[in-house]
C-alpha cells in the first residue's frame, strides 16, 4: 500500500511529454476511513482539502516550495469564486 507504483504519464498539457511519475491517484496518506470520509465531505461541499493538496504537491512538484495552509486556503477560495461561483437556481 505504501510502495509507490510508477507509470508513464502525460505531463504539461498541450505541449507536454511522457514522464515516468508515481501513480498519484492511489492514496499515499493513511487510507483510514476517517481520513477518506473527511476528504469526501470536503470535496462534496467544494471546500479546500489541504491534505490532498500536500499529497499532490509532493508527488508532482517535489522541487517547488509548499504553500502554507493559509496560502492554500486563499488561493483555493479566490479560484473557486473567481467568476462568482457557479450554482443553480
Amino acid at each position: 500500500m505504501w510502495r509507490r507504483r510508477m507509470r508513464k504519464r502525460w505531463v504539461g498539457g498541450h505541449a507536454g511529454r511522457w514522464v515516468n511519475r508515481p501513480i498519484t491517484h492511489l492514496p499515499t496518506y493513511p487510507p483510514t476511513l476517517w481520513f477518506r470520509l473527511r476528504s469526501a465531505f470536503k470535496q462534496i461541499a467544494g471546500m479546500p482539502d489541504y491534505a490532498r493538496y500536500l499529497e499532490h504537491a509532493r508527488a508532482q512538484h517535489p522541487d517547488c516550495p509548499l504553500l502554507s495552509e493559509r496560502e492554500f486556503y486563499d488561493r483555493f477560495i479566490s479560484g473557486r469564486y473567481a467568476s462568482g461561483g457557479s450554482r443553480c437556481c
Binding site: 507509470r7 508513464k8 504519464r9 502525460w10 498539457g13 498541450h14 507536454g16 501513480i23 498519484t24 491517484h25 473527511r38 469526501a40 465531505f41 470536503k42 470535496q43 462534496i44 461541499a45 467544494g46 471546500m47 479546500p48 489541504y50 490532498r52 493538496y53 499532490h56 504537491a57 508532482q60 502554507s68 495552509e69 493559509r70 492554500f72 486556503y73 486563499d74 488561493r75 483555493f76 477560495i77 479566490s78 479560484g79 473557486r80 469564486y81 467568476s83 462568482g84 461561483g85 457557479s86 450554482r87 443553480c88 437556481c89
Partner: protein, 676 residues
C-alpha cells in the same frame, strides 16, 4: 439474473404509472409517485444514458480527462465518481426544483409528475450530460465559449447577454420568494438575520483564527444555526422583541438589496464561502431528511390529479396547462442553468470519461427526484390550505373568512378555524397569500417531518424549512450578483479600460450597484404587484431558463453533428423542438394574450382603462403600465435572442450536412489515461 432485475424494475415502475393513471376518486399514496419516478429513472439510466454514452457521444474510458492531464491540485483535481456526483448535485440543486413543482401543483399532481419524470429522462438529463461531455472534451470550457467556438462569435455574445438577463430575473424572483416567506414573520426574520453574523464568524475562524479548518467551522456554524432557529420562537412570543423583527414586504425587499450589495463587494472568504458551506450542508441534510420523512409517512395526496385550473383561471399563476405547466417547472425537468454548472467546475474534476454518465445524467435524475418530493409535500396538503397560502391576497380578501369563502367558490373546502389553527401551530400570525411556493412547501415539509419525527415540533419544522430555503437563496443572491458584476465589468471594460478591472474598488462598487438596482427594481415591483408578483416574474424566469436550455441544446446538437453523429442528432433536437414550442408559445401569450391576468400588454390596457374610470390613482397606474411594458419587452428580447441563436445554429448544421464545412470538433487532443 441481471436481466431479471431490470425486467422487475421496469415492471414495478410501469405498475406504479398504471396505478397513478387509472386511479380516480379517492386519494392515492405518495408512494406511487415515488415508485413510478424511481423505476423510470433506473430504466432510463441503465438503457438511455448508456445509449447516449456509447452510441451518440462515444465515451472513451482510455482517454485522459482534463482533471488528469492538467491536475493542479486545486480546480483540476481527479475526483472519485460518487464524491463528484455529490458535489455536482449540490451545485445544481437549489430553490428551483422545490418552488416550481409547488406552484404547478395548482393543476393537480398528474401533469407535473409526468413532466418532471419524462422531461428529465428525455430532456434535462440529456442536456446536462451532453454539455458536461462537451466541456470535458474541451478542458472545461464554458457554455458561452463553446457556443462561440462551435457555432460562431456572434452566438457567444448573444449567449452572454441572455445569461445576464436570465440571472437578473432569477435573482429578483428568488428574492421575492424570500420576501413573501418572511414578511411580518419575526421568527423567520430573526433566524435569517442570525445567519449573517454566524457566517461572518465562520469566515474569520476559517481564515484568521484556524486557517483552513473548514469542517470544524461548518459544524460550529450548523449548531449556532439551530440555536438561532430555537431562539426565533422566543423572539416571536416576546411582546417587546417581536415588533423589532416584524417588517413588511417593502422593508424586507430593501434589506435584501442592501445585503446583496454589501455581500457582493466583501471578500469571498468573509461571507460567501462560509455561507456556501452552510447552505450546502443544510441543503443535502434537508433533502435526505425529506426523503426519509416521505418514505416513513407515505402521505396520501389530497390534491386531485387534475384541477379545474388547467383552463387557465388558476389563482396561483394565470395560463393554461400547456404551455405554463412546462415553464413553471423548469428546474427538476429541464433547467438551462445546469448547462452553466455542467460547463463550470464539474468537467474539471472528472477522473475518467466513463464517470460522466453517472455525474451528468444521474445527477440530474437526482434533482428531478427532489422535484417529485417537493410535489408530494405540496400535494399532501389539503387543497384548500394550499390555495389559501399560494393565492395572492387580492384574490382571497384580507381575512380567513373571505379566504374560506373564495376557496369554497373554487370548489375546495377549508374552514376559517382550520386556517387560524394552522398559522398558530407554525408560529405565524397568518399564512394567507404567502405566494412564492416556499411557505406552502414549508408547511408541507413540516407536516411530513412532524409526522415522521414527532408531532409537537410543527412550528420548529416550518421555520427550519423556511430557513433552509432562505439560506441558499441568500447565497444565490450574493453569488449571482457577483457573476452579474463580473460580466458587466467585462463589458464596461470595453468602454473605459479601468472599469473592467475587478481589482479596482470603485469599479466593483459601481458594477455591483447597477446589478443590484436591476434585480431590485423587479423585486420591488413584484412586492407592490396586486397580483402577487410571482404571477408575472415566475413565468418570465421559467421562459428565460428554458430558453437558456434551448441554447444548450443548440450547442449540444452542433457538437453531435460535428462529431459525425448526425444520425443521432434527434436526442437533442427532439427536446429542443419541444422547448421551443413551449417557451415561444408561453412568451407570445405573456406578451399578447387578451386576458389581463395573463398578457402584459392586456394588463397595461386594463390598467389604463381603470385610470380613465377613476378606479385607480394615476401614479400607481402609470407605474404598473410601465412595469408591464418592461416585462413584455424582456419576454420579447428573450424570444428574439433564442430565434437568432437557433437560426445561426441551423446555418452551421446545414453547412456541415451539405459538406461545405468539415465535420470537425475543437476538442483537446487525445491522450491515453493512466487510470486504467
Amino acid at each position: 439474473m441481471k436481466r431479471g432485475v431490470w425486467i422487475l424494475v421496469g415492471l414495478v415502475g410501469a405498475a406504479a404509472w398504471g396505478v397513478i393513471a387509472l386511479h380516480r376518486g379517492e386519494s392515492i399514496s405518495a408512494a406511487w409517485l415515488v415508485l413510478a419516478a424511481v423505476g423510470t429513472y433506473l430504466v432510463a439510466y441503465r438503457f438511455y444514458a448508456r445509449f447516449l454514452a456509447h452510441k451518440v457521444l462515444g465515451i472513451d474510458p482510455r482517454r485522459a480527462t482534463p482533471a488528469e492531464r492538467l491536475n493542479n491540485g486545486r480546480d483540476f483535481v481527479p475526483t472519485t465518481r460518487w464524491v463528484l456526483f455529490g458535489h455536482h448535485f449540490a451545485a445544481i440543486a437549489g430553490a428551483g426544483p422545490l418552488v416550481g413543482p409547488v406552484l404547478a401543483a395548482q393543476f393537480g399532481y398528474l401533469p407535473s409528475t409526468i413532466w418532471i419524470v419524462f422531461g428529465v429522462v428525455l430532456g434535462g438529463a440529456v442536456q446536462d450530460f451532453v454539455i458536461l461531455f462537451g466541456s470535458m472534451r474541451r478542458n472545461g470550457k464554458s457554455l458561452g465559449q463553446m457556443a462561440k467556438e462551435e457555432i460562431g462569435p456572434i452566438t457567444g455574445l448573444f449567449a452572454m447577454v441572455a445569461i445576464l438577463a436570465i440571472m437578473l430575473i432569477l435573482l429578483a424572483v428568488l428574492a421575492l420568494v424570500v420576501t413573501n416567506a418572511l414578511k411580518d414573520s419575526p421568527w423567520g426574520i430573526f433566524s435569517i438575520l442570525c445567519t449573517i453574523p454566524i457566517a461572518l464568524g465562520m469566515g474569520v475562524w476559517m481564515r484568521v483564527i484556524r486557517p483552513g479548518k473548514t469542517v470544524e467551522a461548518t459544524i460550529g456554524g450548523l449548531i449556532l444555526l439551530i440555536l438561532a432557529l430555537v431562539g426565533g420562537r422566543y423572539v416571536a412570543q416576546s411582546p417587546t422583541l417581536a415588533p423589532l423583527f416584524s417588517h413588511g414586504g417593502i422593508t424586507i425587499a430593501w434589506g435584501l438589496m442592501v445585503y446583496g450589495f454589501i455581500a457582493s463587494v466583501l471578500p469571498v472568504w468573509l461571507l460567501l464561502a462560509p455561507r456556501d458551506y452552510l447552505s450546502t450542508f443544510m441543503k443535502i441534510g434537508t433533502i435526505v431528511l425529506l426523503a426519509i420523512g416521505i418514505l416513513i409517512v407515505l402521505p396520501p395526496l389530497r390534491m386531485p390529479p387534475l384541477t379545474r385550473f388547467i383552463d387557465g383561471t388558476g389563482p396561483v399563476f394565470a395560463g393554461k396547462l400547456f404551455p405554463f405547466a412546462f415553464i413553471t417547472i423548469a428546474c427538476g425537468a429541464i433547467s438551462g442553468f445546469h448547462a452553466l454548472v455542467s460547463s463550470g467546475t464539474t468537467p474539471k474534476m472528472i477522473r475518467r470519461e466513463d464517470d460522466a454518465p453517472l455525474i451528468g445524467y444521474g445527477g440530474m435524475l437526482m434533482e428531478s427526484f427532489v422535484a417529485i418530493m417537493a410535489l408530494c409535500a405540496a400535494c399532501a396538503l389539503d387543497p384548500g390550505v394550499y390555495f389559501a397560502i399560494n393565492a395572492p391576497l387580492g384574490a382571497l380578501g384580507g381575512t380567513v373568512q373571505t379566504a374560506a369563502e373564495h376557496i369554497r367558490q373554487w370548489g375546495f373546502t377549508v374552514t376559517p378555524g382550520q386556517l387560524d389553527a394552522l398559522a398558530g401551530s407554525v408560529g405565524e400570525a397568518t399564512l394567507l397569500g404567502r405566494v412564492g411556493g416556499a411557505p406552502s412547501l414549508a408547511v408541507g415539509m413540516a407536516h411530513i417531518f412532524s409526522g415522521a419525527f414527532g408531532q409537537r415540533l410543527m412550528g420548529l419544522w416550518y421555520h427550519f424549512a423556511i430557513m433552509f430555503e432562505a439560506l441558499f437563496i441568500l447565497t444565490t443572491l450574493d453569488a449571482g450578483t457577483r457573476v452579474g458584476r463580473f460580466m458587466l465589468q467585462e463589458f464596461l471594460g470595453h468602454l473605459w479600460e479601468p472599469l473592467g478591472r475587478t481589482s479596482w474598488y470603485p469599479s466593483n462598487l459601481l458594477a455591483s450597484g447597477i446589478i443590484v438596482a436591476a434585480w431590485g427594481y423587479f423585486l420591488v415591483q413584484g412586492v407592490l404587484d396586486p397580483l402577487g408578483g410571482i404571477n408575472s416574474l415566475w413565468p418570465l424566469f421559467g421562459i428565460s431558463n428554458q430558453l437558456l436550455a434551448a441554447v444548450a441544446f443548440c450547442v449540444g446538437t452542433t457538437l453531435i453533428i460535428k462529431m459525425g453523429k448526425a444520425r443521432y442528432a434527434w436526442v437533442t433536437l427532439l427536446p429542443l423542438a419541444w422547448l421551443l414550442s413551449v417557451t415561444l408559445t408561453a412568451g407570445w401569450q405573456k406578451i399578447f394574450a387578451s386576458d389581463p391576468r395573463l398578457g402584459f400588454l392586456a394588463h397595461a390596457r386594463d390598467t389604463a382603462a381603470k385610470i380613465a374610470s377613476g378606479a385607480l390613482d394615476p401614479a400607481t397606474g402609470a407605474r404598473l403600465i410601465f412595469n408591464d411594458k418592461i416585462d413584455a419587452a424582456l419576454a420579447g428580447i428573450f424570444m428574439a435572442v433564442v430565434v437568432a441563436l437557433l437560426l445561426a445554429s441551423i446555418r452551421e448544421w446545414l453547412a456541415v450536412a451539405r459538406g461545405r464545412k468539415a465535420a470537425v470538433v475543437k476538442e483537446a487532443p487525445y491522450v491515453e489515461t493512466a487510470y486504467a
